[in-house]
């Protein structure tokens, strides 16, 4: 095996499911949960469904054609559309369907085996209070201590179906429903997600319910889509530093990361050298190769509670600090680290810059090296908490690259009507989906060690040596009565000052509440077929 095969391995493009890489990226998505009742029929269903699973090869090629038309038209193509299907299995599903599970059991991620509802308050800081919808015992899907055939239990099988057109999606759902009945699978979960432009406001395309452009920062993935020497999965930025100590970037300014960090069986990122990869020390059983773990987290967003918090804090900032020009938009940008358009504070600290926000070649080209105090991007900003980029954390910047995940989420629920308070009570939020080679080392690490932590990944220089504070967007804090806090650092006449932000005293402390989800494994196409024979 040559060094190139390690750094840029040839990906098995017909084996890897397409939502892992490159991602469906559709306006409409549905999650379908099945419970297995008749095991032998269910195994036959696996043989059937294996023919309907969309692969990396198909999605990658479609996306290229789609992009090509989009560039030509400078608008959304209506010439082509597709409907993709991917499949994932829960641990319970594996136990039902795989007779000799013990042969691969030791290779499975511990958190996957324990399940999201179990890890919820242990590792993710979710509410542990039976009166809260965020307590995993109350979840609408994947609830703790509920059997898989319970309407709120964790399905054995999760189908992720996505389409450019909602009509095509509905048609596919109907088809899958008939087939599920034929194979005696209980379909007890169906949840739709739509790009928010679906609700009639094109300006909300690509945004989440709080109004921010979402999904901007994704890792680039190394590897080749064929044996051709330079047929890379991810295009490379042309003019970039040759310094081997900083990550190589994709043409969109995304750090290139070894595919083994997302898909089992491929070389993994070197701990210290951002442009190097290593063979994984774990020799996975064949069944797991080309597979990935999927985290599905149903996150409710309470838009008005968020807005009330913003309003209250901005009033306090203006009253109690020298930041008299603080605006709600700026404060929101402080919490996120980007303006609503997606323009990063790091590059545009004073005001939003929609051109920058929509420029996918520029909006990710920044780090925090010139801002150790968090004067531009506060240390508690969501994007700085969950991706500290070049900041030294836990032994070096190499570790940050090893924590990246592939996010494939989509909003659910319609837009809140600011003039109609009752519209706020309808469920809405994000169907968070992420793919990674380890749930415990990546997804849970990011939430537990960074988002929820008050002092990691990085504390800023500050007058009183205060901690960075919690992530106010997705952070959970089970251990401090759910209170989250952080400090805005600023200068007045050249002197450093700080102002504390705290969620204390609010009637609603969480504007992002987990209301369901589960941990799943997304097997290769061969392994899906194999299940029918096991």
């Amino acid at each position: 095996m040559s060094n190139r095969d390690i750094i840029e391995p040839v990906l098995e493009v017909h084996e890897i499911q397409g939502n892992i890489i490159p991602g469906f990226n559709k306006d409409h998505l549905v999650l379908i949960g099945y419970t297995v009742t008749n095991i032998s029929k269910a195994k036959q269903w696996f043989d059937f469904i294996s023919k309907h699973i969309s692969t990396l090869y198909e999605v990658y090629n479609f996306n290229n054609v789609f992009k090509s038309i989009k560039n030509r038209k400078r608008g959304e193509p209506d010439e082509i559309s597709s409907t993709w299907t991917n499949l994932a299995i829960s641990y319970n599903g594996m136990r039902k369907l795989i007779d000799n599970l013990q042969e691969i059991d030791n290779f499975l991620d511990n958190s996957f085996k324990k399940g999201l509802s179990f890890m919820s308050s242990i590792s993710l800081g979710d509410p542990n209070d039976l009166t809260s919808p965020g307590d995993s015992r109350n979840w609408v899907i994947g609830a703790k201590n509920k059997r898989s055939d319970h309407p709120n239990g964790l399905p054995d099988i999760l189908l992720i179906v996505a389409s450019d057109q909602v009509e095509l999606l509905d048609k596919k759902v109907e088809f899958l429903k008939e087939k599920a009945e034929e194979y005696e699978l209980i379909n007890h979960y169906l949840e739709y997600g739509h790009d928010l432009s679906f609700y009639g406001d094109e300006s909300r395309r690509g945004t989440e319910h709080f109004g921010f452009k979402d999904g901007i920062s994704q890792p680039g993935i190394r590897g080749r889509v064929s044996a051709d020497f330079n047929k890379f999965l991810t295009d490379r930025k042309k003019d970039q530093q040759s310094n081997p100590n900083i990550p190589e970037l994709s043409n969109k300014g995304r750090p290139l990361i070894a595919p083994g960090e997302f898909i089992l069986g491929y070389p993994i990122q070197n701990e210290n050298h951002p442009r190097d990869a290593e063979l994984s020390r774990i020799i996975y059983p064949k069944f797991l190769l080309n597979g990935s773990y999927v985290v599905y987290r149903r996150l409710n967003q309470d838009v008005m509670a968020f807005e009330r918090f913003i309003k209250r804090e901005v009033e306090k900032i203006i009253l109690n600090s020298n930041l008299i020009n603080m605006t709600e938009e700026k404060f929101k940008a402080f919490l996120v680290g980007r303006w609503k358009s997606g323009a990063p504070l790091s590059l545009s600290p004073e005001q939003d810059n929609p051109d920058l926000g929509s420029n996918q070649f520029e909006n990710n080209l920044f780090d925090y090296d010139d801002d150790p105090r968090g004067l531009k991007t506060p240390a508690f900003s969501h994007i700085r908490k969950i991706n500290p980029r070049n900041l030294s954390e836990q032994g070096g910047s190499g570790l940050v690259l090893k924590k990246m995940i592939l996010r494939r989420g989509i909003p659910f629920g319609d837009l809140v009507d600011p003039l109609n308070a009752s519209s706020n009570s309808k469920p809405r939020g994000l169907l968070f989906l992420s793919y990674q080679a380890s749930i415990s080392d990546k997804f849970e690490f990011i939430i537990r060690e960074w988002a929820n932590s008050k002092n990691r990944p990085h504390n800023p220089l500050s007058p009183n040596g205060n901690d960075s504070g919690n992530d106010f967007i997705i952070g959970q804090n089970v251990s401090n009565n759910r209170i989250r806090s952080g400090y805005i650092q600023y200068l007045t006449n050249g002197r450093s000052k700080e102002h504390e932000i705290k969620t204390q005293g609010l009637d609603i402390l969480d504007w992002v509440t987990p209301t369901g989800g589960g941990y799943f494994f997304c097997p290769s196409i061969s392994s899906i077929k194999l299940i029918s024979t096991l």
Binding site: S111, S123, G465, D467, S479
Partner: protein, 457 residues
Amino acid sequence: MSQVREFNPPANIKDFPIGSDLYKEWNSYLTDSFSENIASLITDIGLQGHEITFFDPRFIPNGDHLTQSVPWNGFPKALALRHNKPEAYRLSDKLATFGFKDDLGSTRGAKYSDMEGRNPLLWNYRQQDEYLEWAIFKDEVTGKIKEIIFTCEGPEYWEILSKDPQLLLRLYEKYTNNSIDQNDLYLEHNVYEVDENGNIVPDPVYKKGDYNRYNKWNMKYAIHLSHPSNTLGAEINLAAFSSVIRKNKDDIIITDASSLICCSAFGSPNRFSDPTIGGNVNSVSRNGNWVTLKDPVGLYIAEIDSSRFTKPDGSIISDFTERYWNVLRGSEDGSMILRVSLNVPEGETHNGEQLLLGDLLVNGQPLNYGGQVAETITMKLFALAVTGGPSSTPKYCQQKCCKDLEYPNLDNIVDIKKACPIINPIQSTSNTQLEFNMDIIETSFKTRSKIDSRFNK
């Protein structure tokens, strides 16, 4: 210079009164450490005096004062890089012996003996090298862990306490809850190094009457840090040398933590602590500030992530920190913890039996090793920055990192002029080459901890 004052003991602990002989000793030790390191920046690195951003924290320059709390994880990263997680946990609780290769991949110190080699001394240290060490206590009947004591106190402070044998004895007895013979804490004879051929090196490395850092009570109760790299001297040295602004051969300023530690060799690149601390200090320095360690200089336990512990049935433990996490030494405001005991209070039962620490789950897994708990602990130190620091000419690297042949995720520091061994991912590794690289790490370690050597000789 806006302030002139004295050094306080770690966490402002009050083992001896201000102005006492021990207080003066402590001040003298830190004064020397800072001044020797600052001098080394001139002699070893070639900085001009006016370029040095690192300063003695007793003399704070004029400017805006800012503090940075630098956090890192307490579990030895090098073990996690070398072994799978369950094995790394198990090894983290195991003692290592001087003169033999430890599970972190290093051979520390040498084989020791008393006069004429009559009695080989198998001295132990804890292979926990993130400035956090622990001792575990098991229930005699069930074999389950019932208590874990964590410490992050540098040995130098206890060397100073040892100048007052009564005080030292009193503190040891307090923290071991045992009656102790004073002779257990001091060497009863000279200690000699045994060379590779089995011969005694004539000059003793430790003298009769010296405080014995590796005494059995420290090893059993984790009174203070024992790993040779876990010293306050190393912390000061690390802060001083990481303040130097570095550039690579293409004259580009080095900003990433991994490259900085390889370039300056101020610690081990395979730890959570050293690159993180160095990276932060360097960032402060290269952003135009003066930088130092804030008084009271020390390494501290910041917090334990209580949410990761559950009862055997997976249920949440309420008030975990209040009831299970007992701070034994630290600052009055709780912000700087030096010594802490984790245990389940007497009378707390599960299924009618006394609940033990070993009954709990960490991250859903049974608590079998202290390392599992160490992984939930965040450590910290405090860096002090003052705006308006001097401009400094960036220096080229004197060292670099080569990937370890056997463990490519580990880095070994070598001289900048040396070629890195070529790694063939398929062929097995050469043990000879591996030993060679380990020697380099040892050499580097010895260089950086020379400040600390006063206690070893």
